[in-house]
Amino acid sequence: MLATTVLSTTVPSVFGNLLALDETAVRGLSIAVAGMLIVMFALTVISLFIAASPRILAAVAKVYPEPVERHRKRPDPKGQSGDDEVVLAAIGFVLHTEFQRQCAAENAAMKNG
């Protein structure tokens, strides 16, 4: 009984709302659906292109191989930090060696003294 009452009230209201959809809403709905499909289509094509590009480029590379070093490389921050580490390591090594030499000299002096 309750279900019948609910249906009898809601179904006409839903249909009423559908009928009440004016031209703007219908146009809006079609724009939304078309827009979503266009966005999806464009990005799907991009996705397919990206997926295919390694194969296309591999074929192109047979005729026109990719140059190894055509342009000047950008400064590599990693490389620079690597250089810094090498310099620091060298300085550390020299200091350590010098310290060892001084210690050895002091020990020898103490033994002799």
Binding site: G35, M40, S53, E66, H71
Partner: protein
Amino acid sequence: MDILQEFIKTTGFWSLGPGNVVMIVIGIVFIALAITKDYEPLLLVPIGMGAIVGNIPLIEGMSLSVYDMHRWVIEDGQVNYQPGSVLSYLYFGVSWGIYPPLVFLGIGAMTDFSTMLSNPKLVLLGAAAQVGVFLTFLGAIWLGFDLKQAGAIGIIGGADGPTAIFLSSKLAPELLGAIAIAAYSYMALVPVIQPPIMRLLTTRDERLIRMKPPRKVSRREKMIFPVAAFLICTLVAPGAMVLLGMLFFGNLLKESMVTERLANTARTAMIDIVTVLLGFSVGASTEASTFLTRQSLLIFGLGALAFAIATAGGVLFAKLMNLFLKEKINPLVGAAGVSAVPDSARVVQMVGQQEDPHNFLLMHAMAPNVAGVIGSAIAAGVLWAVLT
């Protein structure tokens, strides 16, 4: 005494309305959020300061507001030129949609498409998240906005400030201030809005999925991509030509390796200057009389809805893709499809690491993130073309 009374009437205190006070407080809140919470400080500080400047009451007869444009006036049969205010000239770049493409140029020069090129299926997540744009567009129509206004409001779901400003300057300039503020506010609130939706729509096992590290992308692929992607996008949706043209041009400057100086300028000094002008003039356009309206409140409500739908759209589409894929995608990555570069990718990383501290999703999330930028620009192009 009369002179003193006249002077008092020209001060801001005399004509400061409650609306101005509210907007000045909002401006201060923006600045405070940027400083204390680090929410999009590069945008919220200029917008916040602009909102404060734009809500100082005007003196009658003085050309101060962003809306005091230059004009030709006929007086005594003679045509006289009246210059606009300084702010109106700065706002010119917003109202004519000049700043957003310049911002896109800088973004292009900053963006590394490598992760997207190494995993092309993640591009689809950037498309799925655009459902937020079109559902919000329908919601705005349902709330009584006309088609053009609804299109401009819907693009907030793209989570892309420059795109939102560009489209609203073309379709609904009268809503530009509210749309820009809503878009940037929600972009700043990405770390607050997205995580609950992401957790709600995913299981723990899904959040623990680890993805394969991306493959190495060749130089040639990176150089060809901007030109090819531009051609594909704009042949499908020519309306996106301006934004995507500048985005991919910026990226070409970066990847070609022969225009390093130009790329460097585009991604540093130029984008900074444009961001300052854009943020400040958009903020200054939020005069209480034009901003504090019922429409603005509705736009803010719809903007929140747009972000939530876009996030859910990306996550759910990733789950759908997993039904067909052998190598599963972590569905959290879908949430990054809402552009908002790189904040939404960072949120994905954060939520993923809450479940598994050794799971690094950031590089995977950057793929739908940059695809989302392209997707929202295409959506804007479609709406602009259809609604003009």
